[in-house]
Symmetry: C2
Subunit: 194 residues, 2 copies
C-alpha cells in the first residue's frame, strides 16, 4: 500500500497513537488502513463414498489437486462461500444430509469440519462437509479437470496445499471411525519457498 | 474506496473480465482491489463458574456489555486473536484446560465454541472457550469496567451484540447439559437501524 484509498495522498507506515502495531496511515485525511486475514472457504464433497477434487488451472499450484475452495466474499456466509466455490470450480451443487422429508439438506446447515490457520500468509481456511447433489460435476473455469476419488486413489503427492492434506486425512480418519468432529490446526511457514 | 492504494490513480467500480461481481479496479496499473469479510475473535472465559464480560468504552455500543472480542490481525491465528483481545480488553490471560501435569492449557488448544456469520456487515465472529488464569482481570483501555457474572446475573438487556447473546445462551445451555459443542448461526440484518 502506497496511497490512501480514500483521498489519494501518500500513506506512511507507523504505529498510530494508542495502537500496538504498524499501520498504513494517511496524514492527509487521517484514515488508518487496517489489513486483516482473509477466509478461504471450501468443501469436502462426497458421492457414493468418493471425494470430489479439482485439478487447478490457475496459479499458485497449477496442475495440482485441491478441494474446491476460495476466498470468501463480502455479503455471504462461510458456508455459502464454500458452496459457491464448489459450484464455480467443480460445477457441483453441495447439499447437506437429507431432511426427514427426503429433501436435500440446506447449505446453511452444512457442518464445519476443519479450521486451518495459516498465519504467515494471513489466511484462515474453513472446510465444510457436504454431499454432491445428483452426482453431477464438471471442471469450472479455474479447474483443468474434476474427479471423484476413492480413499485408495487420493493423489497425495499431487495435492496443492497442506490445509487440503490435513483436511482429507482428518476426514478419512473420521469416516473410518464413523464419527465426524471439528479439526483445527495451525500451519507454520513451509520449510522451503512456496 | 476512491483511489488505487498501489499507484494513487482513481479507481472505477466495475465487473472485471471473467469475474461475477463489481470490484474497485485501477485502469492505470491494473490492480483489482478485492474486499473481503473480517474475522472478529473472542473468548468465553470462565472463573469459578462465572463468565468474564467487559463494558464497552468505545463505539459502537458504548456502555454495553460484551465478551472480550475484536478484529483478528495479520500474522496471528484465530485463537491467538481471541486471547490477545481478552488480554487487551480485560487484562486477562486465557488458558485452556489443565494438562495432565497440571500446567495451564495452551491457547493453541482452546476449543472453538461459536461461529456466527454476520454477512450484512461482512464479519465472521468466532468465540473460543477458555479459563481465566489465576482469576485476574481488570478493565483495558477499551473497557469501562470488567466483571465476572454468574448465570443468573448476566445483564441480558445490556448486551452489546446479538452474536454475544447467541454465544452466551449456547454456552450456558451446554454447561447445564454438561457437554460443549460447536454452535453456528447466521445473523440477518437487524429489524431496526443499528
Ligand atoms: Zn487519505
Ligand atoms: Zn493503480
Amino acid at each position: 500500500m502506497n496511497y490512501c484509498s480514500h483521498c489519494g495522498a501518500p500513506v506512511t507506515l507507523r504505529i498510530p497513537e494508542g495502537d500496538r502495531v504498524h499501520r498504513h496511515v494517511c496524514d492527509n485525511c487521517g484514515t488508518i488502513h487496517y489489513q486483516n486475514p482473509k477466509i478461504v472457504a471450501g468443501c469436502v464433497v462426497e458421492w457414493e463414498g468418493r471425494i470430489l477434487l479439482c485439478r487447478r488451472a490457475i496459479e499458485p499450484r497449477y496442475g495440482k489437486w485441491t478441494l474446491p475452495a476460495g476466498f470468501m466474499e463480502n455479503g455471504e456466509t462461510t458456508a455459502q462461500a464454500a458452496a459457491r466455490e464448489t459450484l464455480e470450480e467443480a460445477c457441483a451443487t453441495v447439499v447437506g444430509d437429507p431432511t426427514p422429508a427426503g429433501e436435500p439438506g440446506s447449505v446453511a446447515d452444512l457442518p464445519l469440519f476443519a479450521l486451518v490457520n495459516v498465519p504467515h500468509i494471513h489466511q484462515v481456511h474453513m472446510f465444510y462437509r457436504g454431499r454432491l447433489h445428483e452426482g453431477r460435476f464438471a471442471p469450472g473455469e479455474e479447474s483443468l479437470e474434476t474427479a471423484l476419488f476413492a480413499e485408495s486413489d487420493i493423489p497425495w503427492p499431487e495435492l496443492a496445499f497442506r490445509s487440503v492434506r490435513f483436511c482429507l486425512e482428518a476426514y478419512l480418519a473420521d469416516r473410518r471411525r464413523g464419527s465426524f468432529g471439528l479439526h483445527s490446526c495451525d500451519l507454520p511457514p513451509p520449510p522451503e519457498p512456496f
